[in-house]
Structure formats: structure tokens, C-alpha cells
């Protein structure tokens, strides 16, 4: 009975939002960045997209946002073909790019001119978060530093309350206190109707923020698992606490070895995303296999 209720509750609150079906993409036909990609992403999650430089993280996000078109296959968001970029699709999507150049307006002016394109825009939320980031809404955006401009766009993106929020390297340009603020604000903005995708190559910036990890490697999504699931299956520890018979990956550090081993005892442990990411890009297939 409990199980059925849980399943129903799960399906009511976690709907598939993004569907990539047999998606292939390359800027040139002979050099594909992704090949035959299949991926479903649901609402109610903050996804962390990891990959090496040049793996195609930004390009994958652009495919999802309809900013580039797949060579083959389809990308649907809320059932709409992303490549058509219809207004009904775009008003449920906000994309914060890695690099940006904002218009010569104050944050107030920008909100006044842009917010009406987003039906669920929350003005109170915008000014509250902007105050938390300590950015004045009256200063011309062009006169703000890159980090402050990024804070304005992150704040605007959150206040749009679009069902899909995409952030490409959002922590680039943010100082350390701002990164902490960013994680806190992001975590508090997630709702059951919303899906957030954050791409980064700075794995530590996603600590205590994301709930599901996506890893893009060698033209494929090699991992799409919740951190809880990963933690249940794998044990991240130093070598003395590892499951010695089930060690899958070992990396040396200054005081010993960090290991990934099979979590037979269902021990509670925190996923070391950096270690896991290194294991995957070093092609330790045993790690991925154990998660399937």
C-alpha cells in the first residue's frame, strides 16, 4: 500500500520534462559531438552536468534550449520540439550562458522591459535575491563587474520561475562567498514543477547543490544517477575504510589513497563527485558498470 502511494506520488510530482531521443549532433557532419543520445530528465531535480573541456556540455544544453539543431533525432521539452523555439516553449525556459553582455540598462530597467515575457515572473523574489547577492538594482548593468552581472542574470533566471532553468558554468566569475550564497539560493528555489540543469567543470561548486549527476563522456551520457542512488551502491572512502574486496578505483592523494568501492554494507556516505568524475573520464568502466 505504502509502495503504491509512493509510486503514484512520484509520478504525480516528477514528470518527464526533457526527452532526448536518438539525438546526434556535430558542428560538422563528420565530427559528431554526440551520437545516438537518449536521455530523460524530470521536474523536481537539480541536475549537475559534468564533462571534460570540449566534451560538449554547452552544446548539449544548447540542443535542449533549441539554440542548435540536432543532426539526427529529436529533443522535446514539455512535449514541444525545442528546435522550433515557439514562444510557449521559450517562456518556460531560461538559459544563463557562460559568457554574456548585458544591455545598457539598470537591473530595474531590465526587469521592466523583460519580465513580461515570462508569465510566472516574481518581482518580489527578484529584488529579495538581488539584495541577498548585494547588487544594487539602480546601477547600469554595463558598469557592474562580470561576477555581479552574472548574479543579476542568475537572480532574473530564478525569478522567471520557468519550468526549465539552464545554467552554463554559472559559478565562473563568482567569488567564494558568492558561490556559497549561490548554492543556498539555488537549493531554496527548487520546486516540484521545476527542473534545473547546471553544467560545470568545477565539480566542487556543485557540492550540496545537485541531486542527480549527469556525465557526458565520449559522445555519450555515461551516467545519469541520483546522488542517493550512487551513495547506496558505491562507497567513497580512504583505503583503510574501503571495502577491500570491492575496490573499483583508487587515486593517490597527499596523505594516502581515496577509493571507490562497492557499498555492500549500505553504509551512509557522501559521494565524492570529483573522484567519481575522475574515475569515469579515466575510463574505469567497472565504476559505471556497478552503477547500471
Amino acid at each position: 500500500m505504502y509502495c503504491t502511494t509512493y509510486v503514484l506520488q512520484y509520478y504525480f510530482t516528477h514528470n518527464t520534462m526533457i526527452e532526448l531521443t536518438n539525438l546526434s549532433f556535430g558542428y560538422r557532419k563528420k565530427a559528431l559531438l554526440f551520437w545516438n543520445l537518449n536521455l530523460n530528465l524530470e521536474t523536481g531535480h537539480i541536475y549537475g552536468l559534468l564533462g571534460k573541456n570540449g566534451a560538449g556540455k554547452s552544446t548539449l544544453l544548447k540542443n535542449i534550449a533549441g539554440l542548435v539543431f540536432p543532426t539526427e533525432g529529436t529533443c522535446k521539452v514539455n512535449g514541444l520540439n525545442a528546435a522550433k523555439r515557439l514562444p510557449s516553449f521559450l517562456q518556460e525556459l531560461f538559459f544563463i550562458p557562460e559568457e554574456m553582455e548585458l544591455p545598457s540598462l539598470s537591473a530595474n530597467g531590465f526587469v521592466r522591459r523583460t519580465s513580461h515575457f515570462y508569465p510566472k515572473f516574481d518581482h518580489a523574489q527578484f529584488y529579495k535575491v538581488l539584495a541577498e547577492f548585494d547588487v544594487s538594482p539602480d546601477v547600469n548593468l554595463n558598469q557592474l563587474s562580470f561576477g555581479q552581472q552574472k548574479k543579476v542574470m542568475i537572480t532574473f533566471g530564478l525569478a522567471t520561475n520557468t519550468s526549465l532553468l539552464i545554467m552554463d558554468e554559472p559559478t565562473n566569475g563568482l567569488d567564494i562567498p558568492s558561490k556559497v550564497q549561490f548554492r543556498r539560493i539555488m537549493a531554496s528555489s527548487l520546486t516540484d514543477e521545476r527542473c534545473m540543469i547546471i553544467s560545470t567543470h568545477q565539480v566542487r561548486d556543485l557540492d550540496s547543490l545537485i541531486d542527480t549527476l549527469l556525465v557526458l563522456h565520449r559522445k555519450e551520457i555515461v551516467l545519469n544517477k541520483s546522488l542517493d542512488d550512487i551513495g547506496d551502491r558505491l562507497l567513497f572512502s580512504n583505503s583503510s575504510n574501503a571495502n577491500k574486496e570491492g575496490i573499483l578505483y583508487k587515486a593517490q592523494n597527499s596523505i594516502g589513497n581515496n577509493t571507490i568501492s562497492i557499498n555492500n554494507q549500505q553504509q551512509n556516505n557522501k559521494v565524492d563527485m570529483e573522484l567519481l568524475f575522475n574515475a569515469i573520464i579515466d575510463d574505469h568502466t567497472a565504476v559505471i558498470e556497478s552503477l547500471k
Binding site: R85, P87, M100, F117
Partner: protein, 259 residues
């Protein structure tokens, strides 16, 4: 929800574009006014105030074409700038609304502003030069049928449609690349036209400039065939059709635009 055109959404987009670009447009208008004062003033000064209708017409046409094509080529600059292209394409408005804002600014508003600036400066220069002159100069009427200056509006429509397409088609250096392609096209047309005329008339071709008279050498005699009035109507109709086709093509190119 109407996915192609919604008046409120369009007006919001128009207001947003104006708020974000008005400083650039005001500076550009200032530059246009400055250059017009400089050139028209210099001509009036060097001709001792005798700036006749022909000179005024020539200035009007040249400035219209030159400033209009540059302005149009830059209207979609944001799409070629990787720091701005994502926010432009991801803004929740339809492609048609984004297209229409750019078209209205580069074609309708530009021509209105240009006409206003040109007449204001021309009137000022003519008034000053007439102040102590025996022979009074008249302000040109660009809509009059006397000198056919109005034809320049038709030619501008073609040039606008070419530059408008180039503005979306090219990622960077829109104006230079569009002009380069246009010159290549005109050169090829000028080279092919005599060949085409020869195959039609089966005679030696003396003069074969496109959209002009045809000069043939028949039995060592030069014979020129002037275009008829109907030919001009056909040419004008084709020009309008080409403009419309290029404007429509620009819309579809915008729909396919990637970052």
C-alpha cells in the same frame, strides 16, 4: 497562445529593443546629421551657394544608399555575437515578431529618420546660401516625378533586402561580406550578359550592360535597342519581387539561425 504573432508581445519586444538600442540609434543619427552638414555645407560653400537640384538629388540618393545599407547590415549584429545571441534567440517572442521589429527599424523608421534629417539639413544649407544670393536655390522634392528621385526608394528596397538577408546570413563583418557578394554577383552578371545577348540575337554585341540598352553590330553597323516603357515596368516588378523574396528568405534564415 498565438505562436506566430501576438500584438502585446510584439509591442513589448519593440519597446525592449528601443530601450536597449536607443542610445546607439541616437548616436548614429547624430553622426548622419554631422556628415550631412559637413558634405552639403562644403558643396554649398565651394559652389558659392549654387547647390542645384541635381546635386541635392545625388546627395540624397548616395547618402540614403550608403547609410541605409550600413544600418541594415548591423540590425542583427546580436545574433553573430556569442555573448548576446543566446539571450536574443531565447527571448520568448516568435521569430516573426523578432523579424518584424528589425524590419520596421531598418526599413520604415530608418527612411523616415533619414528623410527628416536630410530635409532639415538641406533646408538649413539652402536657406543660408539663399540669404544674400541673387539667384535663389530651391529645395528638392524627392517625391516629384520630374527627376525620378523616387526611383531611389525602389532601389533602396532591393539594397535593403540584400543587406537584411546578409545581416542574418553572415555571423560577422555583415556589411563587408554582403557588399563583396553583391559585387561578385554584379561582375558575373556583367560578364554573362553579353554572352546571353549573343546567344539571343546571334550577332556581335557591342554594348551589353545589364538593365540597359543593347548595342549590336550588324553588317558593320552599330544598332542600339532602347528599352521600352514596358521593359522598365517589368524591371521594376522584378526588383520588387526580388526584394520580397529576399525579405521572406531572411525570415526563414532567422528561424534556422543557430548559436
Amino acid at each position: 497562445m498565438n505562436e506566430t504573432f501576438n500584438l502585446t508581445r510584439f509591442l513589448n519586444l519593440f519597446k525592449k529593443h528601443t530601450a536597449e538600442q536607443y542610445k546607439t540609434y541616437l548616436i548614429s543619427t547624430g553622426v548622419l546629421i554631422g556628415v550631412l552638414i559637413l558634405i552639403l555645407g562644403f558643396i554649398s560653400y565651394s559652389t558659392k551657394g549654387h547647390m542645384g537640384a541635381v546635386v541635392q538629388a545625388a546627395m540624397f540618393v548616395n547618402f540614403l544608399f550608403f547609410s541605409g545599407t550600413i544600418f541594415t547590415s548591423l540590425i542583427f549584429t546580436d545574433l553573430g555575437d556569442r555573448k548576446k545571441s543566446i539571450s536574443t534567440l531565447a527571448l520568448p517572442a516568435s521569430h516573426f515578431e523578432k523579424y518584424l521589429v528589425a524590419w520596421i527599424y531598418s526599413y520604415v523608421i530608418f527612411q523616415l529618420v533619414f528623410l527628416g534629417c536630410f530635409y532639415a539639413i538641406d533646408y538649413l544649407i539652402i536657406t543660408i546660401s539663399n540669404a544674400n544670393a541673387q539667384e535663389k536655390m530651391e529645395l528638392i522634392n524627392v517625391f516629384s516625378s520630374d527627376r525620378k528621385v523616387w526611383v531611389s526608394f525602389l532601389v533602396f528596397a532591393i539594397l535593403h533586402s540584400i543587406c537584411f538577408f546578409g545581416a542574418v546570413f553572415f555571423q560577422k563583418l555583415h556589411f563587408i561580406k554582403t557588399v563583396f557578394c553583391f559585387l561578385v554577383f554584379i561582375t558575373v552578371l556583367c560578364l554573362l550578359n553579353p554572352v546571353l545577348l549573343h546567344s539571343i540575337f546571334q550577332e556581335e554585341v557591342n554594348d551589353g550592360i545589364p538593365f540597359n540598352m543593347v548595342g549590336l553590330i550588324i553588317n558593320k553597323e552599330n544598332i542600339y535597342i532602347e528599352p521600352t516603357k514596358t521593359s522598365y515596368i517589368i524591371a521594376a516588378t522584378i526588383a520588387i519581387l526580388i526584394s520580397v523574396i529576399l525579405w521572406i528568405s531572411t525570415y526563414f534564415r532567422l528561424k534556422e539561425k543557430e548559436v
